[in-house]
């Protein structure tokens, strides 16, 4: 490798769980640093860079200030990677999008609501062009490394576009539905190595939907398991409000 790619790490609205995850990479951190130069990272260093090869951006956009900042990041970055469910889908933050925005401001900020301008929680892709996505809430180390090594090699990262069920079946897990639980695995994008079902938990859909998801079939299954249609929709909206509303594809 001739020149090490210059990297920046940024965060917007979100729990920062994804960013903190970077810091948990002790074992791999040295390997990573072999290949890149981190030049901007609020959590770990001061200063700003003018030009970046790769920007990793976490969190959803929910204030006018965010919009300005993401445009600036886009302008100075050759490749922009959305990191985590908030950045990719709007995340749980986007749940508020399905309620009138004034109502949400009232609830969160009470009478001070006019001091806090807020927008619906948007994924980065609703505002700027996003080159690659690392999905999940939080994203997994495994997937970060996969995208990272691809970019270092100069190769487009591959995005899984099939159901979590696939990974679950490959691992010979007992299906959580068999245990009487509900699960969004059949319409949720894989890539997490079926993390939750492997630990006996339902998939809540944090990685977003597969391409051409069969939502009616999924709703039918949930209803057959005893949910009302309304409850079934809510389950699907938790992470996918923006996608279901057509804000992102």
């Amino acid at each position: 490798m001739a020149l090490k790619p210059r990297i920046g790490i940024f965060d917007f609205t979100g729990c920062e769980g994804c960013e903190l995850n970077h810091l948990n990479f002790e074992d791999q951190l040295l390997d990573i640093l072999e290949h890149v130069e981190i030049v901007e990272w609020r959590e770990a260093m001061d200063g700003r860079a003018d030009e970046l090869d790769i920007a990793f951006v976490e969190g959803s956009l929910s204030t006018p200030d965010c919009i300005e900042r993401i445009h600036e990041i886009r302008r100075k970055s050759k490749v922009l990677v959305a990191v985590g469910a908030c950045a990719v889908l709007g995340g749980i933050n986007a749940m508020k999008n399905i309620r009138p925005i004034e109502e949400v401001r009232e609830e969160v900020y009470g009478k001070d609501k006019y001091l806090f301008p807020t927008l619906p929680a948007l994924p980065l892709s609703a505002v700027v062009e996003v080159d690659h996505s690392i999905r999940g809430c939080p994203m997994t180390q495994l997937e970060f490394l996969k995208v990272f090594t691809s970019l270092v090699m100069g190769k487009q990262p591959v995005q899984e576009d099939y159901a979590v069920c696939v990974e679950c079946k490959l691992k010979e897990n007992e299906c959580v539905v068999e245990k009487g639980m509900i699960c969004l695995g059949p319409v949720t994008r894989a890539g997490c190595d079926a993390h939750c079902p492997t630990f006996g938990q339902m998939c809540i859909g944090c990685r977003g939907l597969v391409t051409d998801p069969r939502l009616e079939a999924m709703e039918e299954i949930l209803v057959a398991q005893g949910l009302s249609m309304d409850e079934a929709r809510k389950k699907l909206q938790m992470f996918n409000a923006n996608q279901l509303e057509g804000v992102t594809s």
Binding site: T149, V166, L170, K171, E174, D212, E220
Partner: protein, 339 residues
Amino acid sequence: MTAMMLDNDRVVDFVTHLQENKPVYAPHAKGRSSFVFDQVEKPDDVVLDYPRTLHSIKKFFLPPQDDLLDFNLVENSFTEPELKPFDAVFLGVHSYDLHAVMRLDYVYSQGNPERNYLARRQGAVFVGVSFTPDKHHFSGSVGIGTNDTTGFDVFLHIVDDGYAVEALTEAGTDLLQGFDMPVYEGALPASAHFEQHIYVPQGKLLDVFDHGYHSVVWSDEAAHCTGCGTCNLICPTCSCFNVEDHVDVTVTHGTRTRSWDSCMLRGFGEVAGGEVFRENLADRQRHRVYRKFKYISDETGEPWCVGCGRCTMNCTAGISIVNIVNRLVNEYDKSRAAV
């Protein structure tokens, strides 16, 4: 050849005996109500009376993830991972699952024979056990009874208080050497009764599928299907795979790995530029079922579905292959009657 009697209280000793020469793989309980084939550590944990395992024993010869080569990015070179025979005793295998292995043997021997599969397939010894069909088994309809001993070296027939043990091959006789059992006095039981059936004789099945290509069954069933791929991934005779390169974090090494794939997935037929061959889920359902009952069956004369019931049982949408086939049979009979 006379059968011997293995009493229930000697099963653990029997497993221990089998372990003397080769590793033994057998069903174990997993989760709330499931079973998996695993290497036996404690003979106590072996379950011989089980409905079906999550994966079939296919997973040993065609692993879910299988490295085809290890590569070195610095030197732009590769090495082939060592292919070891699965030299073990497989205990407690059901008849339909061994029939599935024999189908895979065919797939990996014909055309371009594949060394990866064939090398792993060497040395295995199969000890079968009969089973009590549950509401999903229908292997009887495809000619595989609960006590079908085809391909087995030893077979355990469920009888009162234990198993009637039959040695069927030389390897089987060798396996029983040194484990004394009294002669089993009764007659060997007949195949157990099945609750599920495909209502059609073998010969007619080919006509039914000649006729069913444009049936409404495909879109009817697809309307409830999520396209999750589960039905293929747990099928003992499905053998399609994807191949991907994985690079390690040092960006110097990696592996080319194949993994089980499913023709029910949209991406299965997607090419660069975004065109998806078999975009329609109804077409994918048909392809899946035609791969079980028509395409390769026309060539070999045998259904490629062994009636294990896994796809139906594991489908969260409740789509049943028995139901699909019976609907096609019904439509076919009606069209015959109309002529």
